[in-house]
Symmetry: C2
Subunit: 414 residues, 2 copies
């Protein structure tokens, strides 16, 4: 019998307790040990709960109880989750978590503390909810060099974009619908500004390349400026707009990493990942493209990923799992303005003939997007590969006089 504690009894925490309780038999078979919840930490009261005798408001009770071998941290946020995690690891307890903010900002330090105290710090649930992705990258793909990871990592923004694409709903209406459905928080900025996806791609990059990539090194751009006009132009071009978190290894060893909306061709495996689903593509030098698809959030998917980590910790109480990365700094990442890619640009102008001529001069191999319902004063085109710096310069020169920039969206090579 192994005793565990669950810290936080919100959506994910209560799901973890439910899964551990309802699947106790099959879990014991797989862990080769019975797993019993000794404590649930929450500052709130839950009178009448079937788990009433397990609740505590005092973290010290948990950290000082040597019988507790594994702790699930499902509180979210950096404080006090960081302090609690650190103290548990220092006591040799393994910690499993769904807390992507904490892993993305303090992962290297916590992994190093775990190593020092021969404990495990596991976080399968922090990316992709119930989709197995951390473990496949670290284990199954162990014999590969990971060339690129690209994914739709945030269900809320994918739901909003899907509504814009399929139902021609405006961004504002789609956001409101997402909030009404419980997919978006009342303050949706972490989702729609791309911060959540940025934390997740930072975690995947750290795992795949062995150095901590902090989220503030990830160039991050959300979906708040995407309009139905852009969606229509993308459709005319033969694709859709998706919010993509992406990391590529460059020849000089640095990483090209970003979260931003991108034009994706309809044929791409990521183009059909719709609604609240996530899809993550891992490109290995031996395996080629492998794609993982499923619900990226939600109580039970996330809880089942946390429980899978609990099982794995119980199976490895005396051994350490290989899940580790060293600290990193800004030298790991290429400055974003050196990134090179084709870009979609839309402008309005009083003189279309003159603007079209300027576009030809300024942008390498620009192709116009033909969209029959386009306003008569608009021009839209997709360029060839250009660095962000070159794009900035060319746009500046184009937008002298009456020509005004309306949109600028990266075109993906996925």
């Amino acid at each position: 019998m192994v005793m565990v504690a669950v810290m936080g009894y919100g959506v994910v925490g209560s799901g973890v307790v439910d899964v551990l309780t309802e699947h106790s038999e099959s879990i014991a078979r797989r862990a080769k040990e019975e797993i019993s919840i000794k404590y649930i930490l929450d500052i709130r009261d839950f009178p009448g709960s079937p788990f009433a005798d397990k609740f505590t408001k005092d973290f010290e009770v948990i950290v000082n109880d040597d019988e507790v071998r594994v702790v699930a941290e499902v509180m979210g946020g950096v404080h006090p989750a960081y302090e609690f995690t650190k103290r548990c690891l220092e006591k040799g307890k393994s910690v499993v978590t769904s807390n992507k903010e904490l892993v993305a900002t303090r992962g290297a330090e916590l992994l190093s503390i775990a190593k020092e105290h021969n404990a495990n710090y596991l976080f399968e649930a922090s990316v992709g909810g119930g989709i197995p992705i951390i473990r496949p990258i670290s284990q199954c793909l162990a014999a590969n060099d990971v060339i690129e990871i690209a994914g739709i990592l945030n269900g809320t923004t994918n739901f909003i974009l899907t509504k814009m694409i399929k139902d021609k709903m405006s961004f504002e209406d789609a956001l409101k619908l997402a909030q009404d459905n419980g997919y978006a928080e009342r303050d949706p900025s972490a989702d729609i500004e791309g911060l959540d996806a940025g934390r997740k791609i930072a975690i995947l990059a750290s795992l795949a390349y062995g150095k901590h990539i902090y989220p503030d090194l990830v160039h991050t751009n959300g979906i708040t400026k995407i309009t139905l006009a852009d969606v229509a132009y993308a459709n005319a071009w033969g694709g859709v707009i998706k919010l993509i978190g992406q990391v590529k290894k460059l020849d000089d060893g640095r990483l090209d990493i970003s979260v931003e909306p991108m034009f994706i061709e309809n044929g791409s495996q990521l183009a059909n990942v719709d609604d609240v689903f996530n899809g993550i593509l891992v490109r290995g030098d031996s395996t080629g493209d492998v794609v993982f698809y499923g619900k990226g959030a939600g109580k039970l998917p996330t809880a089942s990923a946390v429980v899978a980590d609990i099982i794995d910790s119980v199976k490895h109480l005396k051994a350490r799992k290989y899940l580790y990365w060293a600290d990193g700094d800004e030298s790991c990442v290429r400055p974003y303005d050196e990134s090179e890619y084709p870009v979609y640009i839309r402008v309005s102008t009083d003189d279309k003939a003159a603007a079209a001529a300027r576009i030809k001069e300024l942008f390498s191999s620009a192709h116009a997007i033909v969209y029959s319902e386009a306003p008569s004063d608009e021009l839209a085109f997709v360029t060839g590969d250009m660095s962000v710096k070159q794009q900035d310069e060319a746009i500046k020169q184009l937008c002298e006089g009456s020509t005004k920039l309306l949109s600028r969206i990266r075109v993906s090579d996925l």
Copy 2:
């Protein structure tokens, strides 16, 4: 330093040697041990090979060398792979394999021998090539009850069907193209008759449900009878024809398991899995649908999965991985004629009005497929749920007189 042996130097075996050699540094980091190839077993000579000093034709050398801790069996076929694997496991050596035929026919016995001798028998590469699927099912989804697994498990048949769907190529021409491209063997029967996919779904079913499901218990139907007419009707219906291996757990604990061509709606995640790619959907009670997608075969993808298992074996030389199922028998599987599903039926007839009236009487909620280019003497329709027995009976009654059955294909609920 851990010594390993590679048995078989064909496509996969030479890939394993290449991956182990070219990635030796990152593999050592992940396995926390250097891994060195001591022997390569093959009956052929490879003069001038950079690995010339490692070749042996004598299995006894490998099995009797206590320094060899892990053996990769990549010979294929049941004999002598079975005998070699058994003897290695009995000596406490771990064995990893891509040999789906052996795992599907002798898995329970070999897993039991592995358990007895505290060794591991791992076979990530046996299903889905480089797609991680065995490990995610057994580990990440450990906290789930698996409700259903359905997948496109054979790249050769998927390539042929894709050519029929996208390029209107006949089955015979598409098969010839697959052979010319090296995707199909000169004797393609194991692929096109569904045997290969049958072995793979048998392995996944055994893993998910804990009892060995032998391939001869899997109702298996290949793609040799699929015509371009059926492909066109499927398109008119709003979908495609794919060869699907599927297993579902029934309420009475038995399994519904089959490999057969199916109509799949265009919206399904499996409908867009094209060419030689595989896609596997795992439906868990907590995670919901999770889909794994990638190249299901090929030298390097398969080799990298074998090497990932070698790494895992090296990390667990003294511990056992939980990968096990008990023996099973035909009581685990529901007889196929009790299966219930909607079916697509196409007939020719001299009297369309009479046949249409008979169809209405005989098939519950039958819907005609409207296909503008259909021959004037044909009728095609999709039924509601009916057991296979009921379908047989109704078809028999419909096909009295001039009405003749042309096609009958399962309609999937995926």
